[in-house]
Amino acid sequence: MGIRPIFSALLRNSAGAILVALQIAITLAIVVNAVYLTKQRVTLVGRPSGIDDQNIFSLPLEGFEKDFDFVAMVRADMALLRQMPGVIDAAPISQVPLSGSGSSSGYYSLPDKKGKDSPANIFRTDEHGANTLGVKLSAGKDLDASTVEWKEKEEQGQPPVAVVSQGFAEALFPGEKNLVGKDFYDDQSKPIRIVGVIDHMHGSWVGWDKVDRVMLVPRVSEFTRYIVRTKPGELDRVMKDTEIALRKRDPNRYVGKLRKMSDDKQRSYAGDMRVAFTLTVVTSLVLIFSSLGIFGLATFNVNNRTRQIGTRRAVGARKLDIVQYFLAENWIVTTAGVLVGCGLALAAGYWLSTQYQLPRLDLYYLVGGVLGLWAVGQLAAWQPALRAAKVSPAMATRNT
């Protein structure tokens, strides 16, 4: 059977077909762009931080009376925390990774601000820092206890040694194999020696494109926080115990709010998660409603043409011919919608790329969307088409 009779039937009753095509066009534009954006956000949220972020909590601490012995407080607290049941390790740290607050500075591979340069997110901690964060060292060794500087007041510049992330080291010394023992320089040309390299670690700001450029330096000074890593499953219990134990050990200081690192992380990614979530929900709803719409109109078409179908059956059309007729009709309408939809999707994709400074919509997504909608269209028309095939040839002789 030719395709021409389908066309002329469509043209005679074009309103319904145009509506379905329009719906498919908008659906394609929404779905293709939504899936593309969701993919970007999901990849961002799901990337590993390099830190054991599900088993760590943190808290701020401050002494608030005159002549408060800050160093003694940290040492005593650490001794207490590290022997608590369920605790793997604990450390003082200047800022909490993934939390959104932190500090960074620019560094150079050569003195006098020469060579390669890169910023690094700086964490001041002691020899337990790396182990508490649960980061993996790929070369060299951890900070040595003897190098840790204990200070009452914060001072400018950094200690002369550091454990750095691979991302930071590579930015300063691209292609260099032996990073351990190399010196890099701050803006006053003071050298800092790399003693160890962390294979991968995220810093404070997850939205920063250089989030993997991090350094741990051996210094503990005022305005510190504590981080504690627990055995899996013991986080909540240890948090309760810690709060009580710290207050009991010395009530004469301020113990801030305990925060799970997983909550910090979730908060940092909240915007991305909201976008991904909304997009996923809307995409699913759009697909459901489009298929319901196609289904509804196909059903209506079949009901409306019972006599016509009966007549065709009476003059010799097989059931298969009837099914084919309705599926072909649906395919033509879907294709028209998809063609318009490609234009809409590209336009929306272009607009979004200017809004988000994202790469332009990947054409694979468009191809996938077109194939998907063809399949959805055929599936939605399938049941009405089968019903049409069941119309008895005797219908041709009836009046309603």
Partner: protein, 442 residues
């Protein structure tokens, strides 16, 4: 005729309950998604300063690095914070009607008589006109007098929440609190005051909580209290004491000015330019002359309080509503054409084309109204669910996901208008059909 049309519409719903439910549901879902995105959009687009915000101005001058612009995406934009030197110099100007200088500090509050658990609170270090400029309501007492802006007067204003923690909510004016190892006298307690977005300082998040206490900014240098918000520096400088920090190119303060007349606004812009040109003579301000005076609206835009995400989500929501509506048009058309014989009979018995048209439009309007109300309720539950989700890790979900009765009205109105628009074509089409063709087959 309207009551008759309503009866006909209800009868029609009873004939095809499934199809009717599908249409109502389609509109409801489209509307609920719109309502959820509209809620966060309108919260972020809100200007809490209202009319007053048109005469409030934040100053932004380009003291930044000659090598790197402050913003990557637009190199002519200036930093959103000021250095201490500049904040002080601009604050000295006599052109504005009111002015303030401020930053975010913090410290531990306690009571000498141990009447409260020591608590870390953020403090707004500011000058006295902060309170009238941002229309801050007082529960007890009032702002400090202008003298306290000049010298070290140990006075403090508490937020309602801090007063609750420190004094159980009673009138604490005249009581003292310990802060940075000194006694501060409480001279005022604020009433509930939660402008959202926190337009006067968005540097730590547009929906951040307000500070727990307010202290004259003159205490900053005395206590050597730096910013507990953001501090950004670009210049290689030796900063080995607090005075060096105050003299540095680091930015951490903000100035706001209330300037009511256009003439004074012009004069103040000139003052800004002249100030920067003067400073250039002393080797400062190495970048081009990028000076800005933002009113509250402009300030919210400059700081992208309404994010691109918000805009894209709203666009998506309305595209989704469009799909739902096209869907509804199709279903209405099918439904009306299915019932065409009945319309044919009515036409034959004397109903005019416009009678048939209005009858069917009433029916689609009813579907839309039902969809709109259901969608509003669904949207409300969606907002509620999202708030519950955010509340697990954010401090202020209530502020950027407010229950806003206006949103409900807006979306139901959109639904009804859209539903009627969706019904126009099908109703016209059915009204136009010739009655004879339907009568023939009966």
């Amino acid at each position: 005729m309207f009551p008759y049309y309503l009866r006909l519409a209800l009868a029609s719903f009873r004939r095809n309950p499934g199809l009717t439910a599908l249409m109502v549901f389609a509109i409801a879902l489209g509307i609920s998604v719109c309502m959820i995105t509209l809620t966060s959009y309108r919260a972020a687009a809100h200007n809490p300063a209202g009319e007053h915000g048109k005469v409030l101005f934040a100053a932004s001058i380009d003291s930044w690095d000659p090598e790197n612009a402050y913003e990557d995406y637009d190199k002519t934009l200036a930093p959103t914070l000021l250095t201490y030197r500049d904040a002080k110099a601009l604050y000295e100007s006599n052109i504005p009607d009111r002015k303030l200088m401020m930053y975010k500090g913090g410290g531990i509050l306690s009571r000498a008589d141990k009447g409260m658990d020591p608590e870390y609170v953020t403090t707004r270090m500011t000058t006295t006109e902060f309170f009238p400029m941002f229309d801050v309501p007082f529960l007890f007492g009032g702002p400090w007098d202008a003298k306290a802006d000049l010298g070290p007067d140990p006075v403090m204003i508490l937020s309602k929440e801090t007063n609750q923690k420190a004094f159980g909510g009673e009138n604490s004016v005249g009581r003292t609190l310990r802060w940075h190892e000194r006694e501060f006298r409480v001279i005022g307690v604020l009433d509930d005051w939660t402008p959202a977005p926190k337009y006067f300082d968005v540097s730590n998040g547009s929906f951040n909580d307000n500070e727990g206490a307010y202290v004259p900014v003159a205490w900053g240098p005395i206590l050597e209290l730096g910013s507990h918000g953001n501090t950004n520096c670009w210049k290689t400088e030796v900063i080995d004491n607090f005075q060096a920090f105050l003299n540095s190119e680091c930015i951490w303060l903000a100035d706001w000015f209330e300037i009511r007349s256009a003439d004074k606004q012009r004069a103040f812009r000139e003052f800004l330019d002249n100030y920067v040109l003067e400073q250039k003579k002393h080797g400062r301000f190495p970048r081009p002359l990028n000076n800005y005076l933002y009113d509250v609206d402009g300030w919210l835009k400059r700081n992208k309080v309404l994010s691109d995400d918000n805009k894209a989500m709203l666009l998506l929501a309305f595209a989704f509503l469009a799909v739902c509506l096209v869907n509804t048009v199709g279903l209405l058309l099918a439904k009306f054409l299915n019932a065409a014989p009945a319309a044919g009979v009515r036409r034959a018995l004397g109903a005019s084309r416009s009678d048939i048209f209005w009858q069917h439009l009433t029916e689609s309007g009813l579907v839309a109204l039902a969809g709109g109300i259901l969608g509003g309720l669904l949207g409300w539950s969606g907002v509620w669910a999202l708030r519950a989700w955010y509340a697990r890790f954010l401090d202020a979900p209530l502020k950027f996901m407010p229950f806003d009765g206006m949103n409900f009205v807006i979306v139901v109105a959109i639904a009804v208008l859209a539903g009627i628009a969706a019904g126009l074509y099908p109703a016209w089409r059915i009204g136009r059909a010739a009655p004879a063709s339907y009568l023939k087959v009966q």
